[in-house]
């Protein structure tokens, strides 16, 4: 008997020829799973389970009962398919007994006594996977060894023993949630599955390979060998390790994203130049540590990153570094081009309707560190403005200008810029 079927769900083949629905006693066999493959999606709570079993059919009509008590299987998704002897087997009907919401019975017609491999597939919820990344930065923070992991968590209510696991990277569309179709979350009992975890681990002698392949808009990661993940457990496996990934550090000011002050961002790209780019990186948490002398670590920072396409960029926020500072000072303000609406000849018979302000700013960036740094300062201005600066500034969008420069160790720089803002009737194209 299949180990798990004793407590969760079962496939039973009635050896009595149909019709026998009214019979009070039945003799059944419990064919075990030969293989099981899990295809787990991370964008929605969905797993496609495809299992194969070898069944013996008698000539005539055979009844095959499939039940899934205490699991999160979508009853509308259960499919039967003969992998061998398909020309001799035919599903005549599928019935859902009134007394059970967690069972179906196929009536299968066989042309002769045959033994066939069949596939039963269905959707379940409760199996999820996620990605984690750990970057070990060199002491100079210029490169790192990046290790990617995938974690599979099983809260499906079922134990899939020795399953081949495939993980889908991508975003699919579902019109209904699987766990709603399954009847919602059910109360489940706990098991001590530790022994099974240990046994499963011992059976796998070496590190697993995870093969990545593209499929339409998705990527499929196939974990080498098979895995057993008992209900309630998570398992983390190494997906890849890449040494020597170049990392650049940019001290960034962008008040809308990172708040006041400069934020230290460690940046790398998922591309060939960065020794990555073989496949997209699924969404997950990136944690960075810096290696110190003697294999000691120092925590740098972490970020929850969305899906990183090939050639896209990852920025890890390492927080503020008080040794690189910026100060923006408004040195001068002048109002000019005052325009009045007049309704009489007296001085008081007028009202201001347009004006232009000219503001002089000083931006000072200081690097108190003993190494060269790069900064990127994004300044956002409102209204109809002209911008003129002593240093080169790039236009990020219609209201954002960016200063990006290198700054030597222990040095500072000052950038002057003039902001001319037209208001009221002075606004162009109003």
């Amino acid at each position: 008997m299949n180990y798990c079927s004793r407590w969760l769900w079962a496939l039973m083949l009635a050896v009595l020829a149909a019709p026998a629905l009214q019979a009070k006693e039945e003799l059944v066999t419990l064919p075990k799973r030969d293989t099981v493959q899990l295809t787990i999606y991370n964008s929605v709570d969905l797993t496609l389970v495809q299992e194969t079993r070898t069944l013996s059919f008698k000539k005539g009509n055979n009844r095959l009962q499939f039940s899934w008590a205490q699991t999160l299987i979508d009853p509308t998704s259960v499919e039967f398919r003969a992998l061998t002897q398909g020309d001799k087997l035919e599903v005549l009907d599928t019935s859902y007994p009134a007394e059970s919401n967690e069972m179906l019975i196929w009536t299968i017609s066989a042309e002769a006594d045959v033994s066939a491999r069949v596939e039963i597939s269905y959707f379940t919820s409760g199996l999820t996977w996620s990605a984690q990344y750990v970057g070990m930065l060199a002491a100079d923070e210029a490169s790192m060894t990046l290790t990617a992991y995938v974690s599979v968590t099983n809260r499906s209510g079922e134990e899939y023993e020795n399953a081949q696991v495939r993980l889908v990277v991508g975003s699919i569309n579902l019109v209904e949630k699987i766990n709603q179709l399954a009847g919602g979350e059910r109360e489940r009992y706990k098991r001590d599955a530790e022994g099974e975890m240990r046994r499963a681990t011992r059976e796998s002698a070496g590190k697993k390979d995870i093969v990545k392949e593209g499929l339409s808009e998705y990527y499929i990661y196939t974990v080498g060998g098979t895995e057993t993940i008992p209900h309630g457990w998570s398992k983390r496996l190494e997906s890849f390790v890449q040494a020597g990934v170049p990392v650049s550090t940019v001290y960034t000011y962008d008040a809308r994203k990172y708040g006041a002050g400069l934020t230290k961002l460690l940046t790398f790209k998922n591309n060939v130049e960065h020794k990555l780019g073989k496949e997209p990186l699924p969404e997950g948490t990136v944690r960075l540590y810096r290696t110190m002398g003697g294999n000691a670590l120092s925590y740098v920072g972490e970020v929850a990153t969305p899906y990183i396409a090939k050639n896209d960029e990852i920025k890890v926020n390492a927080g503020a570094d008080a040794e690189v500072t910026m100060k923006l000072t408004r040195l001068g303000l002048e109002k000019k081009d005052l325009a009045f609406r007049r309704w009489g000849g007296r001085a008081e018979d007028q009202s201001l309707e347009g004006w232009t302000t000219v503001e002089d700013f000083k931006l000072e960036v200081k690097n108190f560190r003993n190494k060269d740094v790069r900064f990127e300062i994004n300044l956002v201005f409102g209204g109809d403005f002209d911008f003129d600066s002593s240093a080169e500034a790039s236009k990020v969008d219609f209201q954002t200008r960016r200063f990006a420069q290198e700054l030597k160790a222990g040095s500072s720089t000052q950038i002057a810029f003039k902001l001319t803002t037209r208001n009221g009737t002075n606004v162009k194209n109003r």
Binding site: K190, A193, W233, L331
Partner: protein
């Protein structure tokens, strides 16, 4: 045959590693044999401004093949996602195969593959919450208020749930001190001491720092080698200031928060109010000019009468604010120097004669295009 050693053997040590030596057991088994490798070295690092990283080393006896190592941390605040487990030797032949997380427990199991039976040293690193840190300083100022001895203290309070029998605590600037620190215990350690640090004393009337018209007394020290500092950035922390009274004893003269001061930057510490210097403000002129409908200019004269009742002359710094577009008039008077710090802020230095002789700062300015 073990016995759930985990609970029995570890009444207070809350994070531990157990290596399972049992053969495969069925799911129902509640019995397992485990060894409990001791921690050999523990480092608690404070180099991140908000996080505390704990690193520990343990030597674990491995069998050839796949070994399971359990790590659990009931009652402590370890960030599960931050745990990094690796052989201490860079060229180790041992491989970490997978990490498994049981349901509802602060625990995990590493599957580790070893080519042979061996003892391997592992390093485990993780972020731990509820270890508080605090930097503080003590300045002992000389009687003539030109130098001080400057002591830098680091205080740790351990609410993590874990006790450290022997650990290296490492500050942001790499200072290491070895201490035992029990759960709930706090320790304060002198990590740096600098003597003959030069300080400057300043009297400041600053409307950006206070509105009551008081004169503040500040000490200013620059974190540079020129004055005896400049070795490390000074962390944010409270500075308690004492002064040598010349009789072998010291008096507490005030305290202030010292902001994070990188090398080369200055730390300004307010020790209190200078009661012997009085500043009286009067607005002498406040006229509207050049009115155009709802728009006008102003002509304003702000007068500050300063009296220094001390026996010696002092320099008073006045930091004043005027909003909008304005310019100072040429007949402004009564100051040694001035600096327009930004559009709204101007700083005057006024020489104040001793014994209460008044001096007048006349700040004459015009605002333009007010509405």
């Amino acid at each position: 045959m073990k016995l759930r050693l985990f609970a029995a053997a570890l009444p207070t040590a809350l994070a531990c590693a157990i290596i399972g030596l049992s053969s495969p057991t069925p799911a129902e088994a509640r019995i397992k044999l485990a060894t409990l490798p001791d921690r050999e070295a523990v480092a608690v690092r404070f180099d991140h401004p908000n996080q505390v990283l704990v690193e520990e080393e343990r030597t674990i006896a491995l069998q050839a093949g796949v070994n399971n190592i359990d790590f659990s941390w009931a009652g402590t605040n370890i960030d599960k996602g931050s745990i990094v487990f690796r052989p201490a030797a860079a060229d180790s032949k041992v491989e970490i195969l997978s990490t498994s997380y049981p349901p509802g427990e602060n625990a995990l199991t590493w599957a580790v593959s070893s080519p042979d039976a061996r003892s391997e040293k592992f390093r485990i690193s993780y972020l731990m919450g509820n270890i508080q840190r605090e930097t503080s300083y003590q300045a002992m100022v000389s009687k003539d208020e030109t130098t001080c001895s400057f002591k830098h203290y680091f205080k740790i309070r351990n609410w993590s749930g874990e006790s450290f029998a022997e650990a290296d605590f490492i500050t942001r600037d790499g200072k290491k001190f070895e201490k035992a620190l029990s759960q709930g215990e706090a320790k304060r350690v002198l990590v740096n001491k600098w003597d003959n640090v030069k300080i400057k004393k300043e009297y400041v009337y600053d409307l950006t720092r206070q509105y009551e018209g008081k004169v503040l007394t500040d000490y200013v020290l620059v974190n540079s080698k020129d004055i005896g500092l400049g070795q490390i950035p000074l962390e944010f922390g409270k500075v308690r200031i004492y002064q040598d009274d010349g009789k072998g004893t010291a008096a507490f003269t005030g305290e202030d928060w010292g902001r994070f001061t990188p090398i080369g930057d200055e730390m300004r510490l307010n020790i209190g109010t200078a009661q012997d210097i009085k500043v009286e403000f009067k607005k002498m002129v406040n006229d509207v000019t050049n009115r155009r409908g709802n728009v006008y200019d102003t002509d304003e004269l702000d007068q500050y009468e300063i009296k220094n009742f001390k026996d010696s002359e002092v320099i008073l710094t006045l930091v004043l604010r005027v909003d909008g577009e304005w310019e100072m008039m040429k007949d402004a008077s009564g100051f040694e120097s001035f600096e327009r710090m930004d559009n709204e802020t101007v700083k005057f230095r006024v020489k104040c004669p001793p014994k209460g002789a008044p001096v007048l700062l006349k700040f004459h300015y015009q605002r333009k295009d007010v509405w």
